[in-house]
């Protein structure tokens, strides 16, 4: 065999294990999900499996639970993404201005992100519990009334978001801090020599230079927020009165509690379409707006 021929045989052999896995667990599932979305496929009534065209999609659009799920997901997103952005940016600026001990503080902020969602939820359920919770214990101790952290519609979602912020802020802070540190020192010094105020420095130099990273952070966290599941599922099970049951939890319950696989797959594609639309709009808007 010639050298090049031998090399391409090797190349295929090296690629084969991953390519096989990719084909089996990415390509095939996507095709199956696409097919299922147009079928009635209930695990409890397999004999009634049939092609139904767009019926699953039109059912979703008329399903009050679907819209309630979207509403819950959006109310998480609207609190979470701006909250995360502002808090993490503030932390990153604070860290950037530190001369000593920066890495220790950075590591401590990052640590909660290493916890899995079950541990995080257990910890915060102990804080939030109405009767035995730590927060209400402290509130009562200092003479204030207990709060319905997880049992009242008005409090439940903000409580979930506060926990999520604690859990997720480190990663975003670290990304933003790295971007801040890449701003060339000469530019900042030149601006200071020209007498720029701190506010001008921030709006004229820091913000424009951070634009690509901020875009990344907003889009990535929006995509993540649309897929929120573990935090509300474990803290409130979607309650009270389904007010915190997001779309992913509704899809999960449709497919794995009610065994309606076709309908679940169709709603997954709808959620994907919504995510793609949001990401596209944000990308277009943020790419052009700040300049």
């Amino acid at each position: 065999m010639t050298y090049t021929k031998k090399r391409s045989v090797y190349a295929f052999l090296f690629l084969a294990p991953y390519a096989l896995s990719f084909l089996t667990f990415i390509v095939v599932p996507v095709c199956v999900a696409l097919g299922l979305a147009f079928m009635q496929y209930d695990l409890t009534a397999r004999e009634s499996t049939k092609f139904v065209g767009f019926r699953n999609f039109s059912e979703a659009l008329h399903d009050a639970y679907f819209w309630a799920g979207l509403k819950a997901t959006l109310s998480y997103l609207i609190l979470m993404v701006p909250g995360l952005l502002v808090a993490a940016f503030g932390m990153a600026l604070g860290l950037n201005a530190m001369s000593r001990g920066r890495n220790t503080v950075r590591a401590l902020l990052f640590l909660p992100g290493m916890f899995n969602v079950a541990v995080t939820a257990i910890l915060w359920q102990w804080f939030y519990n109405g009767e035995f919770g730590l927060f209400n214990f402290v509130l009562k101790k200092i003479g204030l009334g207990a709060l319905p952290w997880l049992s009242d519609r008005a409090y439940a979602m903000p409580s979930i978001v506060v926990m999520s912020l604690w859990w997720a802020i480190g990663g975003t802070t670290v990304v933003l801090l790295a971007a801040l540190q890449q701003i060339p020192r000469q530019i900042v010094e030149a601006a200071c020599l020209d007498g720029a105020t701190t506010g001008a420095l921030f709006s004229k130099i820091t913000l424009p230079l951070m634009r690509p990273v901020l875009l990344f952070v907003v889009v990535a966290n929006t995509i993540g927020a649309f897929q929120v599941f573990g935090q509300p599922y474990l803290l409130t099970r979607g309650g009270p009165e389904l007010s915190t049951r997001g779309l992913v939890q509704y899809i999960y319950e449709t497919a794995f509690n009610n065994y309606r696989m076709g309908y679940g797959a169709a709603m997954s594609w709808l959620l994907f379409a919504i995510i793609a639309l949001f990401a596209f709009v944000q990308y277009q808007f943020l790419r052009t707006s700040v300049s």
Binding site: R7, M91, P112
Partner: protein, 274 residues
């Protein structure tokens, strides 16, 4: 910036770091308290230090085999990580160095599929794994993970930045492609491989939805799903549930302390890629 501002900022940041850490400290301290003290905490520090919560958690029980869950988690996360490292580094080598025909198109397809949300795969994967009779076995949580595109993408990018001259020299000296991969490429890519390994391990260790959907019997659960279940049945015994949480988190805290620099730095750079 003035000196006053700087020291004020440093103080605020340290206080914030302490506030962030305090739930973790409270978790550990409270898991060392006897139950009456947990519900009526006179102070954060236990009056009577006790290991009884940990003893009860680690003691074998049919409803909550904690040691078994720990073993499942260790086995699944380790296997998944090793397979991901092997498959991804081989694929990246084939694409970047052996220049497999159509390799770059394949890489573009891989990156495109990374944008598909995980929840899209739940239903089809469940049905496929049930056909394969892999439901309720570790394979369901190990093998599909190897299809993830992040590793191939990241290692390809890294390999491109490593000079090819060393590999050519090894080839000239009569080293086979496999030898070059094993003795030259893998060692040169060690930092990227370590980063990928850490991320894959943490991701697998903390996966919640996968085991929740694919595992049926209690003894086959991994830690996150196991302790979530445990918590629903013992939900007011916080000493116990916090002890399970502390135990489940301890391995990750050790990994984090050992690789803190690497984890945080690579997290920072993944956000800066584009």
């Amino acid at each position: 910036m003035t000196k006053v501002f700087r020291s004020l900022n440093a103080l605020i940041m340290r206080v914030l770091a302490f506030i962030f850490l305090s739930p973790v400290i409270l978790m550990i301290l409270t898991s060392l308290k006897p139950e009456p003290e947990v519900l009526n905490p006179a102070s954060a520090i236990p009056h009577h230090w006790t290991l009884s919560n940990f003893k009860q958690v680690l003691g074998w029980s049919e409803e909550a085999p904690f040691a078994r869950w720990l073993l499942n988690s260790v086995f699944i996360s380790t296997s998944a990580t090793l397979l991901v490292l092997l498959f991804s580094s081989m694929a990246a080598y084939a694409i970047v160095r052996l220049r497999v025909p159509g390799g770059n198109v394949f890489l573009a397809v891989i990156v495109a599929t990374m944008m598909l949300p995980a929840q899209l795969f739940l239903v089809p994967l469940y049905l496929m794994l049930s056909r394969l009779h892999w439901l309720d076995t570790p394979a369901a949580l190990i093998v599909p993970v190897t299809a993830g595109g992040f590793g191939v993408f990241m290692l390809s990018q890294f390999m491109r930045s490593v000079p090819e001259a060393i590999e050519e020299a090894a080839l000239m000296d009569g080293c086979s492609s496999l030898g070059v991969f094993q003795h030259v490429v893998l060692p040169l890519c060690a930092p990227a491989i370590a980063t990928l390994g850490i991320f894959t391990f943490i991701g697998s260790w903390n996966d919640f939805m996968g085991p929740l959907i694919f595992m049926d019997s209690v003894r086959n659960y991994t830690l996150p799903v196991g302790i979530a279940l445990y918590q629903t049945s013992y939900y007011t015994e916080y000493g116990l549930t916090l002890a399970t949480s502390a135990l489940a988190t301890a391995p990750l805290i050790v990994v984090f302390m050992l690789f803190q620099r690497q984890i945080v730095d690579s997290m920072a750079s993944t956000g800066l890629k584009d």
